[in-house]
């Protein structure tokens, strides 16, 4: 995922994108949690069609991002080199690497919340995107835990059941 701006927590990402106008920055972003990722990749998953509908909907919004934190890929056991995962590239699903700064932010976010490490990285990713002006929706099967973490952020993130 291409990052440009500095978040409110002071994290500075790489400077690889062109500058965005304020209007252009207001775009849609989707963050996939474990089951959402599996549903996107596996045609036999009961929520596969639901994920196709989400991806289809993103094509109706200009510059819509669809991302997956790399920790989620580890938990879901999805390798991009696997034949089953080639669809991720076609569908424009981008990785958000777990950098040191993001790990620190995820730790802060999830401290004392009794949630999984991966949940922390998912909400941290969503928070980072929201801070950059994206309208963020997280798709998960674990709405309760993610809602709890979302309550710890000051950003307008939506959490939806996959």
């Amino acid at each position: 995922m291409r990052m440009r701006t500095t978040s409110s927590s002071g994290r500075q990402a790489s400077a690889t994108t062109v500058a965005r106008s304020p209007l252009a920055a207001a775009r849609v972003a989707v963050v996939l949690d474990n089951e959402a990722l599996q549903a996107a990749v596996l045609t036999t998953h009961p929520k596969h069609r639901r994920l196709m509908e989400v991806l289809q909907a993103t094509t109706l919004r200009r510059r819509a991002l669809v991302v997956v934190p790399t920790a989620v890929r580890v938990e879901a056991g999805v390798r991009r080199t696997d034949p089953s995962a080639t669809a991720l590239g076609r569908l424009g699903v981008e990785d958000v690497p777990l950098t040191g700064d993001r790990a620190d932010a995820a730790v802060l976010l999830s401290q004392g919340a009794s949630v999984s490490v991966v949940d922390g990285t998912v909400v941290q990713c969503a928070e980072e995107l929201a801070e950059r002006g994206h309208r963020v929706t997280v798709y998960t099967s674990d709405v309760r835990d993610l809602e709890r973490l979302r309550g710890r952020t000051a950003t307008p993130i939506s959490v939806r059941r996959v």
Partner: protein, 144 residues
Amino acid sequence: MRSMARTTRPSRLLDELATALAAAEGPSAVTSFRQPESLRRAAQVAVALGWAPTANEGVVASLRDDLLAFCRSAAVELHGREVPEARPSLAGTALALAELDHDPLADEPKLIERAAAEIVSVRPDADADDVLVWAASLRHHRGA
């Protein structure tokens, strides 16, 4: 378990497109891309209005965004042909769109289903945005 991986020619081309897009931050090349003079002028004016730092950056970013959307849309369409049960429904896409927009209609799936069923009778080529407008109208009249 079945995966989305396919080795048909269109899917190979889509993979090639996706790979090229993923590497789009690499070296640049000067091309002889022809554009209408009026469009070139429009881009210059748009830059003055804040569209992008330069016309070149704006064109490159717009082209990348367009190709990404095209690639995703084509991938979903191709997959729907290969696996018909995975083809997105109009109501389901409209519900997802409401979710992405953080529209309160996202909490009214039945209303969206009704709107999707009704709108195609008057507009067979309706898309998810049209469904949401119809659903908003239904909601408005329900409350009136």
